[in-house]
Assembly symmetry: C2
Homo-oligomer: 437 residues x 2
């Protein structure tokens, strides 16, 4: 009988995270200050502790996972790798479809993979309080959970439209003891500025990041935590791909193509980077980042130095961007509404080492789950049906959609619409890019 | 390092369900018709296929799990057994606390353990359409999922208060292709009768069962499915306890006490019955059913022949009951609001082979999760702290609370109140019991 769920033992949870920087053909471009000069650890130290910066800057291929973090991972890891036999049959494809399922975590997504080590690394650095932002709420609830686990107070700025649309995500964060405020809020200069311009501002990740960074920079007892984009976050997520590779080995398989949704990049990097190591060593594997057409950072943005937040508090990072003042439409894919992308993912895409495609949201719902990568994988499986190729496809199902059911209601009611972020808007937004790099 | 998550291989999914009837000191009392005579398969055959009735009536200790069902189980089984080390530390108890976690299933609860075999057994009997009821929505979504899997149309009568309070559960059922109606509905004689008496009737499981049974009995193409109470449902759920026992064996442990929430009995039977086999063979293990004080069937009801539904369409079953016209208050614990209990659980309780306790809902929320058994287990762990006894405790965490977050909001707002179902109301309700048995 073909294995459906491929499991690993607790002892097989990876002991190291994989750092893609070690295998990149070119070193990553450094973050810059507004003066165009590289930003050093002393400046970053205002919002991050040394324990985090050490990982952020590291070029080591393997970075040890602290035992305390592995112990926490064991609450839900190793996660299952599942062969989607029924989907294969329903599509009538000769392709084999596997997915790694991260929805079994306590918060229902892959985000605790980084929230837990971040809380731990802050704790051992003596930090008592963390502040962050959240879009759809996956990252916020994960940091709330991790903060509770290691005794760190957590405050969260939640993008207003999600704060209103997903009250239960908010309750979940409060259940784990975090404070949650709708962003833009009246608690920061950034928030007050946006509210003065438009009291009905629906918010964006860019604004929420500005609020969180502003607060962290202004309070000595508080550091900042980010749920995607940065090197150390992508590093933590590689437990996903490292496990998936081991699981595929157990059934003697290896993927031809890997699909993952790409917002800030942590989901994609988590499943794809460990396979990039093989690709760098000459192995044939295609890594495909899937993004929504309504926020087409890689496929329609440009590769430039830009701020990570709306107000320009963060260093400038070389990345694909739609412009830091990008104000996304109120689309479903809350977590994929970031104007930029991880610098590492951006550079690999720029160097044509990975691929990217954009899919519209209605087709995504037709794929049956709230996951853009599933749509892309189904499309590929249908192409295999045409061509007869028995490819092995792998996608990352980064979470369950239990807090997205309101969007399903809109989909069933025929009220969910596709939105192509217009090229003119991208161009207008990019006109404000800082002139550095 | 102490194991946190104890996993099994796919090949260790049980090959047989355990039938507690084989180990009961006295045979189960038969269901009776209104005439006081035992109801035979020919009468039950109106609403159930032979394949189900065969299991319902069986006295065999082990009943083989069909390969198609085991294949479907593999989507989420074996489920993890987790050592709650952090809870032990937080309580400072010498007790060891384990829980079996059924929330990893596609619908987030233990209910698909029976929905899948029921859909399969109906399919091989040639049934094309199933009708059922649901309270909180766990059973309804599980049957919708199972129906989708085996190509069977599913219609669900959902208790009105839950239909209104849990719109996303409803969307979930619709996502799996089921039709969902608020009960009482105007589609059945039963529903119309209750609506005529009170158009704002909030519904009850008893009424919803009557509606579903009425429809199944009146349509030749349709059979009925029940998510708890009956022998075959409890049988299917024993995969939980069979796995848990094997998992505890792996770490060389055995429970002193087992706790599970008890509404209709399927959750409790699932984890506890396989250990009853050991108890029957002389082993010391205490099995504790935990119910809400607002619906105290075992702890305040009486052991008598009563109907399973509000209208009296079902056979009379000997069980602990609050009376079939019990109209529960609109409490949180939607799934535990059934007037009766499984006849098997009832008989074991009556014969003092298992125990039962009732806990109030505010204390349940203080225990941090929407699960009455957790509260009971914590209370026992705290007693162990007093006495110094290093007991091994096991509870069944039958699902995640992602669709119960509205109740958490009420709890945080201080609006959640305890409700002791008054003894006078129990007495009044029991006055209407049929005079048989």
């Amino acid at each position: 009988m073909t294995a459906t769920r491929i499991m690993l033992e607790e002892s097989e949870i990876p002991k190291h995270w994989y750092n893609v920087i070690a295998d990149m053909p070119n070193p990553p471009l450094p973050p810059l200050g507004p003066d165009g000069k590289p930003v050093g650890p002393e400046q970053m130290g205002v919002i991050f502790p040394d324990t985090i910066l050490e990982q952020e800057m590291s070029g080591e291929r393997w970075i040890a996972i602290p035992e305390e973090v592995r112990e926490a991972y064991r609450l839900w890891r190793p996660t299952p790798l599942i062969r989607a036999l029924r989907l294969e049959r329903a599509l009538g494809t000769p392709a084999k479809i596997y997915y790694k399922y991260e929805g079994v975590s306590p918060t229902g997504s892959h985000k605790p993979n980084s929230a837990v080590p971040q809380a731990y690394l802050n704790k051992i650095a003596g930090v008592k309080r963390l502040v962050t932002e959240t879009g759809a709420g996956q990252w916020g609830s994960s940091l709330a959970f991790a903060g509770q686990m290691f005794g760190i107070a957590v405050r969260i700025y939640m993008v207003k439209i999600s704060y209103d649309q997903k009250p239960f995500r908010r309750s979940m964060m409060q259940t784990w003891g975090a404070e949650v405020f709708a962003s833009p809020s009246n608690m920061t200069n950034t928030g007050r500025k946006y509210l003065a311009e438009n009291p009905d501002n629906e918010g964006s990740l860019g604004i929420a990041i500005s609020e969180a960074v502003e607060e962290a920079a202004s309070r000595a007892d508080t550091k900042y935590a980010l749920g995607s984009v940065l090197n150390h976050v992508l590093l933590h997520q590689t437990v996903i791909g490292l496990e998936a590779k081991k699981q595929l080995e157990k059934v003697g398989d290896y993927p031809d193509m890997i699909f993952a949704p790409c917002g800030g990049g942590s989901n994609f990097a988590g499943i794809a980077f460990p396979f990039f190591a093989d690709k760098a060593a000459g192995k044939k594997v295609r890594l495909v980042a899937v993004e929504p057409t309504s926020c087409p950072t890689l496929t329609k943005g440009i590769y430039a130095y830009d701020y990570g937040d709306a107000s320009g508090f963060t260093p400038l990072m070389k990345m694909y961007t739609l412009g830091h003042d990008f104000m996304p439409p109120g689309i479903h894919a809350g977590g994929l509404r970031y104007h930029g992308d991880s610098p590492l993912v951006s550079q690999l895409y720029h160097e044509k080492l990975i691929e990217a495609i954009a899919v519209p949201q209605v087709a995504t719902f037709q794929a049956g789950v709230s996951c853009h990568a599933v749509r892309a994988c189904i499309d590929e499986a249908l192409r295999c049906k045409e061509s007869g190729e028995p490819k092995t496809l792998l996608f990352n199902l980064s979470g369950h959609g239990h807090f997205d059911m309101a969007s399903y209601d809109r989909y069933f009611a025929g009220k969910l619409e596709d939105y192509d972020y217009p090229v003119e808007a991208v161009k207008a937004s990019l006109a404000h890019l800082p002139k550095v790099g």
